[in-house]
Symmetry: none
Subunit: 209 residues, 4 copies
């Protein structure tokens, strides 16, 4: 499957020209990825063993190592893939927005949409376990928000009194906690309320239209 679920992946083609062995290999790899996503989301990197993942995937313990060099490699692949998809989704959404308030709204929509459709990936990406991949993503997310804020301050859209560094960390922290809280079952509030509230919190700092 690769982590993505998009229709154009090779394994989805009706006419898969690869050998039966190659298809079987890919299927096993996918099962390991899927099991890894489920277990990492539930118990975190350290709470899961390669044997757990293999058992969940229905393969022998040694099979894990035919597909991934070790547990970290699997985690890395999952996290990098999730990060790319989230980043792509947010960038797509915000690329058309010209005004800050529009950008903020669509960014929130993209984040919430990703969370709604990828609960497990969200947990993996946003759970801050010591020194893992997600952290880097959140750091770069912070930096991009800080940059956006600084530009907004230059153009006068945002008041200068609010420190961009602090705000960018604050917004990332807000997204992390709110979305991790929201992807529980049952969802504590409706998607609309969530988007609306997260947008308002940010807009309240902008100058009125």
């Amino acid at each position: 499957m690769s982590v993505t679920t998009q229709a154009e992946t090779p394994s989805d083609r009706g006419s898969d020209r690869r050998s039966a062995g190659a298809r079987s290999r890919e299927a096993t790899r996918d099962r390991l990825l899927t099991s890894g996503i489920r277990l990492f989301a539930k118990d975190g990197l350290n709470g899961v063993t390669t044997h757990d993942i293999a058992r969940e995937a229905g393969v022998a313990a040694g099979t894990f190592y035919l597909h991934f060099s070790d547990k970290n490699a699997l985690f890395h692949e999952i996290a990098v893939d999730a990060e790319e998809r989230l980043r792509h989704r947010v960038e797509q959404a915000t690329s058309d927005a010209t005004r800050l308030r529009d950008a903020i709204h669509v960014q929130v929509e993209a984040l919430v949409g990703f969370a709604a459709e990828n609960r497990e990936l969200l947990r993996i990406l946003f759970s801050a376990e010591a020194g893992h991949e997600g952290s880097e993503f959140l750091d770069s997310f912070s930096r991009s928000i800080a940059e956006g804020r600084r530009q907004a301050i230059e153009t006068g859209e945002m008041p200068a009194e609010i420190d961009a560094g602090v705000v960018s960390q604050a917004l990332v922290g807000m997204f992390v906690r709110v979305l991790l809280w929201w992807v529980q079952e049952p969802e504590p509030v409706s998607r609309e309320t969530l988007i609306d509230t997260l947008t308002r919190i940010q807009l309240s700092g902008t100058h009125p239209e």
Copy 2:
């Protein structure tokens, strides 16, 4: 010592009526607590072994278990104690505030003050390692913020459009990430800027004075 460093702890009394054995026991326990705080703050619950803690405390490996039933018990005690101290500090600070904007300001001051004086405890309390104690504290923190917000909405201090549940999670997430970011060396921004910014972010949602 007990985790607190305040003067009224038993071991600090000049007139300690306990036996020499009891005082020695307490001292050993304190060294284990101190070592635990340092190491947990640096490497997290899973990154530290009981041998590490005993070695850092200068005692034998078995001694650890004379004072704590296991590694989680030590972590729990550190976290609960830290939680109580932080909770107490925030409650003291906010007990006199009558207006919401005042309460918000002193609450931020209390949080930042705690972070400044207890970097290691803050890291332990705010680091979200899979299923550990800190989470419970943050949950109850969220609940108390949500309650405050609901009251502010009733009294008309806050607009009703903003969902109190979402906001309370957002604020906790914000505090967590901003303070963990801030207690690094070197501190990214001054204490004053930090307090001011965190206060403004919250106030921006209130009705203008």
Copy 3:
């Protein structure tokens, strides 16, 4: 190929009457043998995996087991074949020699010649990895030398004071270590010096001519 490179092996015949399949099978088997020789000579029986051998031979891992029952069987076949070739060479050389001193000289020439032309086989045959095949060859080599000595003592060519059992072990040990040392790159001494010295060492025990 079979391990030997001599012209009369089936696969070398210009007029190979076997089917294409049979010839292909033989070629695969030969590649596995060649790879096994190279890798066993370099890293020893335990330092090589069947996957290594298959990869070096350019075949799939499972193919190995179509040709050899297991890793030891391949090693055994290589060792037995090498042993036969070395034995044959020595016997050919010594069959014409009537006097002991001639026999010794041509035997040394045969051993050194084999070592020079089959470095890898020599390493495999003479390396004493716990309980492997080479040992049996060396044991039987010892026995044949001991038998020769005993005859030489009977005919008066060798003095009786020297124990034939000890000497035969000594000579084998000498050949093993000296030849393993000599087949390194670069060769520590010239082929002539080597032959001359090994011959003299043995002749020194015989009665002067």
Copy 4:
């Protein structure tokens, strides 16, 4: 014990001032060393697992690692200790000998004496398993023999026609194989015959007295 059996080692003192724990630790370490020697002598470095050694020593698997960092460390310690003892014994024996023929005789006596009293250590030291410690010892043994030969050639005690490099390898190989053969049960020849024969083999190359 340390591998040595000499009377002056601390653990042999009637008045052992160390704590019971320290004595117990030493005893366990000694059992592991003893088990290691027995098993390495029998099956070689690669034929033995740390579990085997622990079981033979009557301790749990993990205990092994309280005393040695890994299997190689134990092997190294055994080999280095054995090497030192053998080297010391040979040096002691040859230090007084002024004439080459005397030196050769006492050297052989020392080697055979060591072999007789330390069959297992001899097997460990003289078994050439890929890249292990014993090899280094044998190499340095060769070098020292070669040096001795070169001096003997200079002083006219040995004829110059025999290459010292080849001879030194030959002698080491001879000692290795003969002694490994001799330390079997039952001993193939008497100690006297062995010493006499090994001495004669070497002396046969010297000029007659």
